[in-house]
């Protein structure tokens, strides 16, 4: 009984935040925004898949031969080719793919039939696994990597940016600039490897990273991912630091900052509150992009640290021209890019109410 009251209060507050806060301030209408975004995402994914099909149509690499193995005889290659329906014209294969996505598909396992439910992205040429399943297994890995790295690079980058805007022209700023830039100037595989050798090999502070699912053991999860996060964050931080700083200096030149100076507000809070708020828009936009693209782009990190994520799978799939897997992976990336950008737009409109969601 006693617990119901706070819950009710909370939910009402939430309700207000959502209807009054979000719905009200977004002007254009939140549901409309969501609908448009969903539609946009569908179109984006559609285009993406078509592009990949087109690319693989022109790209080198004899799929049947690669799948069958180098020593396969022409007759066998032909069999594999039929098995994978590689002889159909590319548009027929694409339509087949779309059908799979919409209504599902049946595949023969040799001894039986494997039903692949919609949305079915097909089976991997290489491992015969369902691509949807494969991807669902990998998303948590890459997701963990991306989220952690983003949190870290935002803290590191924005923190550094704020500090260097506040202490602009001073020694603190120079040192910070040099340090963050050193991170940028070193490719991730170098930073990652060196960190791993130092921290895991020499000092033995951390284990050599091995993916542990969050649901198994959150502490081990974080512990193992710490190094990949740090490596990625070190690379990205400078970008955010510099961007934050330069946007903040812009804001500092504006009139309203003078108001707060004239009221004796500390420079620290002028910079860290008022200037920062104005500078966040590009930072949020960029992190959305980077976060989304990390789903396809963290391959170097994943490869280096042996994390079984999407990026690594993608590299392998591209190498063996495993088209269904490649398409699936790219669609996931696309999905996250669109999603992250949508979230960024909402955040952005909440932060700056002059902006109406488009």
């Amino acid at each position: 009984m006693t617990t119901t009251a706070p819950v009710a209060v909370k939910s009402r507050a939430l309700d207000r935040a959502l209807t009054g806060g979000l719905g009200g301030l977004l002007g254009g209408g939140f549901t409309g925004f969501v609908l448009r975004r969903v539609l946009g995402a569908v179109v984006t994914l559609f285009v993406l898949s078509a592009v990949i099909y087109a690319v693989f149509y022109v790209a080198p690499g004899d799929v049947a031969q690669i799948t069958c193995g180098p020593r396969c005889s022409p007759a066998q290659v032909q069999q594999v080719s039929e098995q994978l329906k590689l002889d159909d014209p590319i548009y027929v294969r694409y339509l087949d793919f779309l059908r799979g996505v919409l209504v599902g598909q049946d595949y023969s396992t040799g001894t039986g039939v494997l039903h692949c439910d919609a949305p079915c992205l097909g089976l991997s040429y290489r491992t015969d696994q369902q691509v949807t399943e494969l991807i669902l297994n990998k998303v948590p890995v890459t997701g963990s990597l991306a989220i952690g790295a983003m949190v870290l690079w935002l803290i590191l980058g924005v923190g550094t940016g704020v500090l260097s805007a506040w202490r602009r022209g001073r020694l603190t700023e120079r040192v910070l600039t040099a340090v963050t830039l050193a991170g940028t100037a070193t490719p991730v595989f170098v930073i990652g490897l060196l960190l791993m050798i130092l921290v895991c090999g020499r000092l033995q502070w951390l284990p050599f990273p091995q993916y542990v699912p969050f649901t198994d053991d959150p502490q081990q999860w974080a512990w193992n991912l710490l190094l990949p996060w740090v490596s990625l964050a070190l690379i990205e931080a400078a970008k955010y630091a510099r961007l934050t700083r330069s946007s903040m200096l812009e804001t500092l030149a504006e009139d309203h900052v003078r108001t707060f100076r004239a009221y004796g507000i500390r420079e620290r809070s002028i910079v860290g509150r008022h200037a920062l708020r104005g500078a966040l828009a590009p930072v949020v936009a960029l992190s959305a992009n980077d976060f989304g693209s990390m789903f396809g782009g963290a391959l170097l990190t994943e490869t280096l640290f042996g994390l079984p994520g999407l990026g690594r799978e993608l590299v392998q799939a591209v190498r063996v021209v495993d088209l269904p897997v490649v398409v699936g992976m790219v669609l996931v990336t696309g999905f996250f890019v669109v999603l992250a950008n949508a979230v960024a737009d909402v955040l952005y409109a909440v932060a700056d109410r002059r902006v109406v969601l488009s």
Binding site: L48, P60, T184, R242, A253, N289, G296, N341
Partner: protein, 332 residues
């Protein structure tokens, strides 16, 4: 009385002897000149470009070339580490030699500057050009244009470089100059971030009255973008551009491994870095040299970019209004 006022107020209106106002560009240069760090950075960038352009001259001075093997200078039994102290530094090989091959590192570094700087700078310019255009179009255009361009950006961001490289391999004729191809590929792939940053800024800038005023003046979107928004966008864009360069240098190396990049034995910093990572212990200078070169480049570009950014802002340059409100010890 108003007529009288007019006359009395502004003696010789329009024909004053006041000094002609300096043009925007001139003021910009004047403001840039006051920043020592930016000038030093500009000198460093110029030096780097010079090194890249005059690479043959520098290597001739040393008497080496970037492709000759010196099997005698590496210890074959130990995996090919350079013999001699500090990675084989000698009067012939100023910076030592490359492990395994014994190629001269100074020559490779100097020649590598050509590829890396050329490709990375060209690609960055392209990324900025496309990104800014798309971002501005998103920010200023209607909802529909914004939607379609934003989704197109998403497609570009989501397409893995590797997949695109594959397509290009297939469609670009073998004779196409590789560095140009690399710059084009990187340029056309990596503009998503710029576009997003520009769009975000443009959206909040366009709510300002001076943009409304420009619209009332009758300007179209392009002109508004160029005159009202672009100058304000210069800060984040320039900042971002300086940081795109190191990324592009690394991407060049990645593309080279996919076969779209520059052909061996041509050296590039990115490729040196990628093959040097494992040598961090056995031949540290092999890793440190390209890393240091890259660092100096980024640092110089960043400092220069910051200088340009500051000089572009008439408010910040004179420190009027942007002042810290803090007491300055130096009494400046």
């Amino acid at each position: 009385m108003s007529e009288a006022l007019l006359a009395s107020e502004i003696p010789g209106a329009g024909a004053t002897a006041a000094p002609a106002p300096a043009s925007g560009a001139r003021q910009f240069w004047r403001r840039l000149h006051t920043q020592r760090a930016a000038l030093v950075a500009a000198a460093v960038v110029a030096l780097l470009v010079l090194v890249a352009l005059a690479a043959p001259l520098f290597t001739a001075l040393e008497g080496q070339d970037p492709t000759s093997y010196h099997p005698g200078l590496v210890d074959s039994a130990r995996g090919g580490v350079p013999v001699g102290p500090l990675g084989g530094i000698s009067s012939e090989h100023w910076l030592g030699v490359e492990p395994q091959t014994g190629r001269d590192l100074f020559a490779r570094l100097v020649y590598g500057a050509r590829v890396s700087l050329g490709v990375a700078l060209a690609a960055t310019l392209l990324q900025i050009a496309i990104g800014v255009t798309v971002g501005l179009a998103c920010g200023l255009g209607g909802r529909r244009l914004d939607q379609s361009l934003s989704r197109a950006t998403d497609v570009m961001v989501a397409l893995p470089l590797m997949v695109l490289a594959l397509a290009l391999l297939a469609v670009v004729p073998g004779g196409f100059p590789r560095p140009v191809l690399v710059a084009l590929v990187i340029g056309f792939v990596g503009w998503g971030g710029v576009a997003k940053v520009v769009r975000a800024r443009a959206i909040s800038l366009k709510s300002l009255d001076h943009v409304a005023a420009a619209r009332l003046s009758g300007w179209g979107g392009v002109r508004i973008a160029r005159r009202e928004l672009l100058p304000a966008l210069a800060a984040p864009v320039i900042t971002y551009a300086a940081l795109l360069v190191p990324g592009n240098i690394t991407v060049e190396a990645a593309l080279s491994f996919l076969g779209v990049g520059v052909k061996p034995p041509t050296a590039s910093w990115g490729q040196m870095l990628t093959s040097a990572d494992v040598w961090y212990q056995a031949a540290p200078q092999y890793l440190l040299l390209p890393a240091a070169a890259l660092f100096v480049t980024v640092l110089a570009l960043t400092v220069l970019g910051d200088g340009v950014r500051t000089a572009l802002d008439p408010r910040a340059a004179s420190r009027l209004r942007i002042g810290t409100g803090r007491k300055r010890e130096d009494g400046a």
